[in-house]
């Protein structure tokens, strides 16, 4: 699989220069992209990162690997936000959930045999949108169905 670039738009505007920011050990970076300035719309920061997942022809495996990329990007973003909150002293900047930064846009850098499989938008819904009503009861019902096999 060639490189996969995953992008999200934050619900914040971070006053950071465009470029790469290292969020942990070497190689773990996120790239801040200058926001689009649209009249009447508050600017929001676009963040992206590149990943090198192994290619697969199995759509189940592709979905798992795309989900893993989105989790890794979110982890990096939240590290960046913790740092930004501290240095900027902006208490309103808090860590984000997958649903808050959704959708995740995927772009393949270079040709790939199964590119469409990899580049579909990955969308996460807010928890409250998934199961209305007595979610706890429903989840417990679901959980009981998923007891590990003995």
């Amino acid at each position: 699989m060639p490189e996969l670039q995953v992008s999200v738009v934050l619900p914040y505007y971070l006053r950071l220069a465009e470029g790469d920011y290292q969020t942990a050990q070497v190689g773990e970076v996120v790239q801040i992209v200058s926001p689009l300035l649209l009249e009447g719309t508050a600017p929001r920061t676009l963040v992206r990162a590149r990943f090198n997942p192994e290619d697969s022809a199995d759509p189940e495996e592709v979905q798992r690997r795309r989900a893993r990329c989105s989790e890794q990007l979110l982890r990096r973003i939240n590290r960046l936000l913790r740092w930004y909150r501290s240095v900027s002293r902006r208490a309103d900047i808090t860590e984000l959930t997958r649903a808050q930064v959704s959708p995740f846009q995927f772009e393949a850098i270079g040709a790939a045999p199964s590119v469409e499989e990899w580049t579909a938008t990955l969308e996460y819904g807010a928890e409250s949108r998934q199961v209305p009503g007595d979610r706890a009861v429903l989840l417990e019902h679901h959980r009981q169905r998923v007891q590990p096999a003995v």
């Binding site: 189940e60 819904g125 199961v131 209305p132 679901h142």
Partner: protein, 84 residues
């Protein structure tokens, strides 16, 4: 039967997310539940996992089955997975 209408859920959810169609539960252990809704031409599968399981760790197949359902229903071009 991985696809089955959950009438109790249907009564509870009403038309909050659109017209409820059916529910998919993965086999054999039900790691994945997907509730399917039609919103005009679009069909959305709201995919959820039990506590402790995330989309990157699921071992039971569900993507192919949901896409096949969309294909059979003629909505493959208007079908979307929404993960939780």
């Amino acid at each position: 039967m991985p696809f089955q209408r959950d009438e109790k859920y249907a009564a509870e959810v009403g038309s909050v997310f659109g017209e409820y169609l059916t529910t998919f539960v993965s086999e054999p252990r039900g790691q994945v539940r997907a509730d399917l809704f039609r919103k005009e031409r679009r069909v959305e599968a709201h995919v959820s996992f039990p506590t402790g399981i995330v989309a990157s760790g699921v071992t039971e197949p569900y993507v192919r089955a949901l896409r096949e359902y969309a294909r059979k229903e003629g909505v493959a071009d208007h079908f979307q997975l929404i993960m939780s």
